[in-house]
Symmetry: C2
Subunit: 570 residues, 2 copies
């Protein structure tokens, strides 16, 4: 392709309303243009990248045995009423009325439609398992669309749904999808982690998110430095410290702590390490009116998701009202502790490992030092309550946890029978008995991958695409092409040669200064660049530079084609 016949729409200025780097670079490189809030047009260059991602996703889904379908975007309300989501779903669900005043929605997902299809078409366990996917533009009416295509109102999604006669079959397909997703992100050249994710209110039995690691990510990912273990920070198990709890060495003493409200205050006031203190949080119990105390080490953070899953605790988790706490426990939030507490106490594993610790005295502006479990207060119930931190041992016993930020680009989920039960999707099993199908669902944010890849792959000059995602593999920049016949001839010959070899090559034949061309092509992020100029040509040389290289190098005119083909892995 020649740039003069293409649609190059680079911009020098960083757009004012683009907060994240991928949004800025996608606008500046001319990959997308904004039509309205959360609505973007993909320009030719951006669409080329998107189509490459789409094709990798399609190929790996096909290879996994999934079958591609295409369901309508417009979905009748009746199905959503059947599943119960018509009422449950928030205003992100764009509800519309047709000309006959019938209710429809623009579906952000297709569980209802696919379940309706499969319950009509599949009657016997012999037809199972089946895994159907589509790659489709979805609409979600975000309250505040932002970050360009990262959180837009229209986005390209791959959604797959599998159906099974039993949960073993679901588990097997789930594993197949896990592998397919790993293949996809590996082929795209992204640094990613499949992480154990919360199954949330759906209560399915297993769920993994696939995250592209990037410092701008919205999620914290904990992963081992020595194994495959990775989990959302919320989901990572915090192990108990190794070894026995040390024996008591100090006497329990009460100290006045005027004005001390937080662990930081306490550590400063008493000159102690926060890791030798505990904090006591009071939450509402499962039973109305019952309070429960949660005790954690002073330097640890409560993980609410872990806590609300525990027996005896209200789900969702709610903190107790301070007045009620003061009445029941004798002190307000800043001065609570496990000693002499009359409500049930749950102690985090790490806090349970402390000896001679400091805690609130359950009297205002007073704390206890030298406190020890068993001796000074009971240790009735120990649980995993806290969020993991960098440096914690990996829960799989191998290595140490690191924490990095990730951008969620995929999600696989064992739904179980949530939809099939609500919508009565059954098959006859081997004994002629009707059984409810088990379901899995598997999503990939196809357009989101483009933005995530840029968040992970850029420098101060622009995008540094992984090879598989670059819009063009190679750009040939002739210098002074419109004046030098030698340059024009050589550049065109090379262009032709690479084209015939099936290389996606761009010839920058614009009548622009070299600096403008170089800056544009670096901004766009084409991985390989050849510069054809009179000076180097005089010595039969062509200049080569890889997008991530610091320095250009000279290649001989005779070997340049073979050299570049080697760099392209051809």
């Amino acid at each position: 392709m020649r740039t003069t016949e293409y649609f190059i729409a680079t911009q020098k200025e960083t757009p004012a309303d683009a907060e994240v780097i991928s949004h800025q670079l996608m606008l500046r490189a001319g990959l997308i243009r904004k039509l309205a809030a959360g609505l973007y047009t993909w320009l030719p260059l951006g669409l080329k990248v998107l189509r490459k991602v789409e094709q990798v996703v399609r190929e790996e889904m096909d290879r996994s045995g999934a079958l591609e379908v295409s369901m309508p975007m417009v979905q009748p309300a009746e199905l959503w009423q059947e599943s119960g989501r018509w009422e449950q779903y928030g205003p992100e669900l764009l509800r519309i009325k047709d000309r006959h005043e019938r209710d429809f929605c623009l579906g952000p997902t297709h569980e209802e439609v696919i379940t309706d299809l499969v319950r009509n078409e599949v009657k016997s366990y012999k037809q199972l398992p089946v895994n159907l996917y589509q790659i489709q533009t979805k609409v979600r009416d975000e309250i505040r669309p932002r970050f360009g295509i990262m959180r837009s109102r229209e986005f390209l999604m791959k959604d797959a749904y599998s159906f099974h006669a039993d949960s073993e079959s679901l588990g097997a397909t789930y594993e197949v999808m896990h592998r397919a997703y790993s293949n996809i992100f590996t082929r795209l050249g992204l640094d990613f982690r499949p992480v154990i994710a919360d199954t949330g209110s759906i209560g399915g039995s297993a769920s993994h998110e696939f995250h592209v690691l990037a410092s701008s990510g919205e999620d914290d990912i904990a992963f081992s430095d020595q194994s495959d273990y990775a989990a959302n920070v919320e989901m990572a198990e915090a192990l108990a410290p190794a070894g026995e709890r040390p024996a008591p060495g100090a006497e329990m003493q009460e100290v006045a702590t005027p004005g001390v409200k937080t662990i930081d205050d306490l550590a400063r006031f008493l000159k102690v390490d926060p890791a030798t203190t505990v904090k006591t949080l009071v939450v509402n119990g499962e039973e109305e009116g019952v309070l429960v105390a949660l005790v954690l080490r002073g330097d640890h953070q409560l993980n609410e998701i872990k806590a609300e899953k525990l027996a005896g605790i209200a789900n969702p988790l709610t903190m107790a009202d301070e007045d009620t706490v003061r009445k029941t426990c004798g002190a307000g939030f800043g001065s609570l502790g496990p000693v002499g507490l009359s409500i049930p106490v749950i102690v985090d594993r790490s806090a349970a490992h402390l000896a001679d610790f400091t805690c609130g005295a359950n009297r205002e502006e007073a704390h206890l030092t030298g406190v020890n479990w068993e001796r000074d207060c009971a240790l009735a119930r120990v649980e995993d309550l806290r969020e993991v931190m960098a440096g914690d041992p990996s829960p799989d016993g191998m290595g140490t946890l690191q924490i990095k930020r990730g951008i969620e680009v995929g999600h696989i989920f064992q739904l179980g029978t949530k939809y099939s039960e609500a919508m009565d999707a059954t098959v006859l099993d081997e004994n002629g008995k009707s059984v409810t199908m088990a379901m899995g669902c598997y999503g990939i944010g196809v357009s989101r991958i483009v933005a995530a890849a840029i968040e992970q792959n850029h420098d101060d000059r622009g995008i540094t695409w992984p090879a598989a995602m670059a819009p063009f593999e190679l750009v040939i920049v002739p210098l002074n092409m419109h004046k030098s016949e030698a340059v024009a001839e050589c550049a065109l010959a090379l262009y032709q040669q690479f084209r015939e070899a099936g290389v996606e090559v761009l010839l920058d034949d614009r009548n622009e200064r070299p600096g403008v061309k170089f800056a544009d092509m670096e901004l766009i992020g084409i991985p390989h660049r050849l510069v054809v100029g009179d000076r180097a040509l005089a010595d039969d040389n062509i200049e080569y530079k890889g997008r991530r290289d610091d320095e250009a190098q000279l290649l001989s005119r005779d070997s340049v084609f073979a050299d570049v083909m080697r760099k392209l892995d051809r």
Copy 2:
């Protein structure tokens, strides 16, 4: 692909609500399923066909130099207000409000969005021409969706829009698109015609529709049996009969014609050929209160589109009120004629060629015979007023017109400046002067092509796909595969061999009776079939049958691969 790992969803019964054959066969062959009125899910088999069509369209558009983009489906009302279409467009335009109560629509076309993009990005004539296209699901809220995907509410469309500094450039791109469209439909193996179409109220300068010929089509196409000439019947020019008008041979006489209202009545009553009579229609003129008489041969039909374009006639065309006609002309509709008429008369070319004709006498229940132009009544204005008929000479002077029915699958249109003027889309020309860009738009109904192809290619057993559109090229049907090892081994070996050769082959490994398999595969329309059975295998033979063949033939096991590859043009 093995059928046991695929999604085969054939049906024996013809669905009750499917009126046209393509709709029936798409449901029966398991290509689509209905979700709601006008909303269909494409099953794996149907989607394979759709993707093939899509790919041919994309390749030919790319080859033509057009660049692919992807615009949002959800479009802000502001742009449609700017072009004036927000008010003009009927309820097919699905208007929606987002969660902030802002107006949007689900765009059935994208003239506004693309014009907005190009006016922002293109500033100089040097950046022109540019031709941008997308392949996208569109929504049109049809009042009565029908004929399956032929007239559905969601459909896949290729829409392209070109921008030009002048109309010569527009004309050149229009020709390029005309060729690209011809390539597309030729590659798809369809019998089609590019036909001259009405530019309608938009008033562009040129427009062609591309029609797939099929007896179930909604449009009448007139085309020459000896040239490329083809036009919508409404648009085809009716030439004047050859030679001079014959000299008068009879005297004009008035005859009483009691009860005669129509030309048929008249021909029967007077025992004359309708082709020797004229009928006189009265329409409203351009000026309020003025009536105009249109005179055609008795066997010809008025073409309203031709009539309403003529100077002096109201546009759109309306027939005059009969009471007014009676008052002005002396008789009602059944007894009018050009002799002595006081209102302006326009005579069709063929009627103007008659001598000794019969017409109404402008007195109730009376007609004149032996009438002659010039001698008995003036012949002030002769125009082309009638619709062409089969057998008419082709307007390009070559051959005779035939008339067949067609299904519109593509449309190319020189829009001129309709949108660019309304939306102020200008560029600077060579002299630095601001000029309004000229535009063309080019549509293809990608999903509609699938239905049109079936309307053109089917028999009483099912679909007979053109090679380029078939979901699979070849099916191998093993007989008794689950009992005969020889059959299983041979079928699997062939399956493997064709797969490795890149052939899209289906192995029907279902445990079903041969009759069921044959019927399914013929219904689905796979072009080539191999049957592997013990009886033929005993003689080292495999049975081959082409989908359009009457008889099966035996091929030698040794040469079957090479023979079939030849049939596949590999």
